[in-house]
């Protein structure tokens, strides 16, 4: 990938579950002029750690800035760009479609083809739920549009790498820059003169 090629990237960030963390992340996106297409955040498998998936478009260099700036936030524990990895990516949408006795059957067929489900029915509308990759959600929405979409909500994409967990929180905390490895602060730094006892959180620095 060259520096000028724009591509969609899927990035996962593990965050400490603390007040204002989301504010820090979105504030960073806005002041660094990063354009984010979707963002979801929720609990991870580890207590006190939230997991955020976001999708952003840009060149490799743009995205490197997004990742390194985000990683500098104190409450951000780990970042993984999973764009190049085999990944399960899903988005959920709830779509309220106008129906009548003529169209209901056709719509139900579409729901079935898309492995979506109907979660609410009344005389004039249906609520359809779909959990699928983004392009399938787009495609269903396009088809349903002809019947009249009254309301819609999409969650944004969530992602998980396939296979054994290389990106779980417990494996992810030790990431440092690719060409550096960490050594404990030996106190020679003028700014770290009394920082010895705090190295309990130092890590071996190998990329997980």
């Amino acid at each position: 990938m060259t520096d000028t090629q724009t591509q969609q990237h899927t990035i996962i960030a593990w965050l400490e579950d603390k007040p204002s963390v989301l504010n820090r992340v979105t504030g960073l996106f806005s002041r660094r002029n990063f354009n984010i297409e979707s963002l979801t955040v929720g609990h991870s498998e580890a207590k006190g750690i939230s997991r955020m998936t976001f999708v952003a478009s840009g060149t490799e260099r743009d995205l490197q800035q997004v990742e390194t700036q985000l990683d500098k936030l104190i409450n951000v524990i780990h970042i993984a760009n999973v764009t190049q990895e085999p990944t399960v990516i899903r988005e959920m949408a709830l779509i309220k479609v106008t129906t009548n006795s003529q169209t209901r059957g056709e719509i139900m067929q579409l729901v079935s083809i898309y492995h979506a489900s109907v979660v609410d029915v009344d005389m004039t509308s249906l609520i359809i739920q779909i959990v699928a990759p983004e392009d399938r959600v787009d495609s269903l929405i396009q088809l349903l549009d002809q019947y009249g979409i009254e309301e819609m909500v999409r969650t944004g994409q969530v992602a998980m790498v396939r296979g054994s967990s290389r990106h779980g929180h417990s494996h992810g905390v030790a990431t440092v820059a690719a060409n550096g490895h960490a050594t404990p602060d030996n106190g020679q730094n003028a700014n770290g003169a009394n920082g010895h006892t705090e190295n309990a959180n130092g890590v071996n620095g190998a990329r997980a």
């Binding site: 520096d3 965050l15 400490e16 007040p19 204002s20 504010n23 820090r24 504030g27 002041r31 260099r61 490197q64 800035q65 390194t68 700036q69 990683d71 500098k72 936030l73 104190i74 409450n75 951000v76 524990i77 780990h78 905390v173 440092v176 820059a177 690719a178 060409n179 550096g180 490895h181 960490a182 050594t183 404990p184 602060d185 030996n186 020679q188 730094n189 003028a190 700014n191 770290g192 003169a193 009394n194 920082g195 006892t197 705090e198 190295n199 309990a200 959180n201 130092g202 890590v203 620095g205």
Partner: protein, 568 residues
Amino acid sequence: MSELKTGGQIIWESLIHEGVDVVFGLPGGAILPTYDDLYKYNYPIHHVLVTHEQGAAHMADGYARATGRVGVCIATSGPGATNLVTGLGTAYMDSTPLVAITGQVSKSLLGRDGFQEADIRAISMPVTKHNYLITDIRDLPDALKEAFYIARTGRPGPVLVDICKCVQQASMEFTYPTTVNLPGYRPNRLTPDPDVIDRVAQLLNEAQRPVIIAGQGVSMAGAEAELRQMAEKANIPVATSLLGVGTFPATHPLSISWGGMHGEAYCNYALQECDVLFAIGARLDDRLTGAFSTFAPKARIIHVDLDPAEMGKNLIIDTPVVADALLTLRALLPQVESNEHPAWLGQINEWRTDTTERDILAQETDELVAPYVMRQLWHATNQGNCTVVSDVGQHQMWEAQYFYHTKPRSLLTSGGLGTMGYALPAAIGAQMGKPQEEMWVIAGDGGFQMTMPELSTVMQERLPIKIAIINNGYLGMVRQWQDVFYNKRYVGTPLFNPDFVKIAAAYGIPGRAVTSKEDVFDAIRQAQNIPGPYLLDFQVEEFTNVYPMVAPGKSNADMIRRGRPVEN
């Protein structure tokens, strides 16, 4: 069971644990419980009362830059906190370790828009490395411990701790934490990868026209000696960034001063022509590089910085090295081969000679110009054996051009944010941290007036700060842009100035106006010989501009330069 401590007591005890000896602040309602606890403590920490909270933040900044320790400022809620913001932004841009403590309304009043409530956590988020809002006393000790840890480690920066009034008044058993739990923060000193060092050494050894750019990060890592060893071993010319001034002696034969918008022309030529550029501890911002795409076009750039986010932020980097400056130089030293580079150094000397011939000081004139003042000050201070705190504008550029800095941390200036009004309060902080140091403020007549009331703080603390105002009756640098880009339409730049000597006298500070060249050295000597503070009002020629000058967004190759002297 140990004794209960109030939140206010916990704040002071934490500061004592961190080795803080002085704080700069101004009290108000929401921070009063903490101030009252300082009274109860029989003043274990010296509190410097400021006239405006911006001054408190700059003082903490100046203290930190001069000493390398964390500076601390303190303010009340609402306007007290918002007045800190310019100082926090200044510290953030220049990576100064600073802890700001602010009072906040009580938790029960948060979000009610009550008197003097401002969401300083949200306001300060973009200008701090991290910040806290403390609504529960149980979170206070960890937050204070973490604040100091975060401020001084890794790439340093300001941290703000906003503390609700009710937390300051509450009490609990207190022991200062010995560890921090910050799973997302790993500020270890990074050792460079050996393979990367091999490549860097190879690039440097094969270079025909190498240049080093040294930034403030070299001083933060304490790597000045190693930098010099490497430069001398391989005979590589060394430029600095503006904040890097002092990391490499400006009088050294390999020094090529500093580059950029108002850097020396010969330095800019060297940067444009070099084939390998080794930048260390400098973030390579637009004022140094000119238009990013045009900077050092022939060079493969090696960038050493401990902040991975600096890699490739502005420039395309050939070899990024995310590592500590000292550890990198130590690893490189044995691998960098001795070298002479006679042709390259000869070329640079030709450019240097051309610069010298165009020097304003080489022109015969009776007019008093700021560069002359700077050079005389350098002579009078035993060739720069002092700390200079400069403000922002033309005088700042002339100071950096004409005052040869030879020791680290001897120039304190707002490089990134470019904050006018920085110099006087920052010098107060620096002098508090280094009481024996000869401390000079150099400020323009515009910037000086922004924080001039801190003269009362100078007197209150009896600080022997010497102040040189470069008074040309204009917001000079802005006026210079109007000269060059706006056809001399001087909108909003002529100043109505007070008599600065009388202003100083009103505070009890002696001073003297200087209007002619002959009086400059004598006046500086007089300022030095009088114990305590002194103010010199250098009334300089009005329309002198700083050269060279690179227009914003242009290449450093396209400098506007002072003309050569007319040949007879």
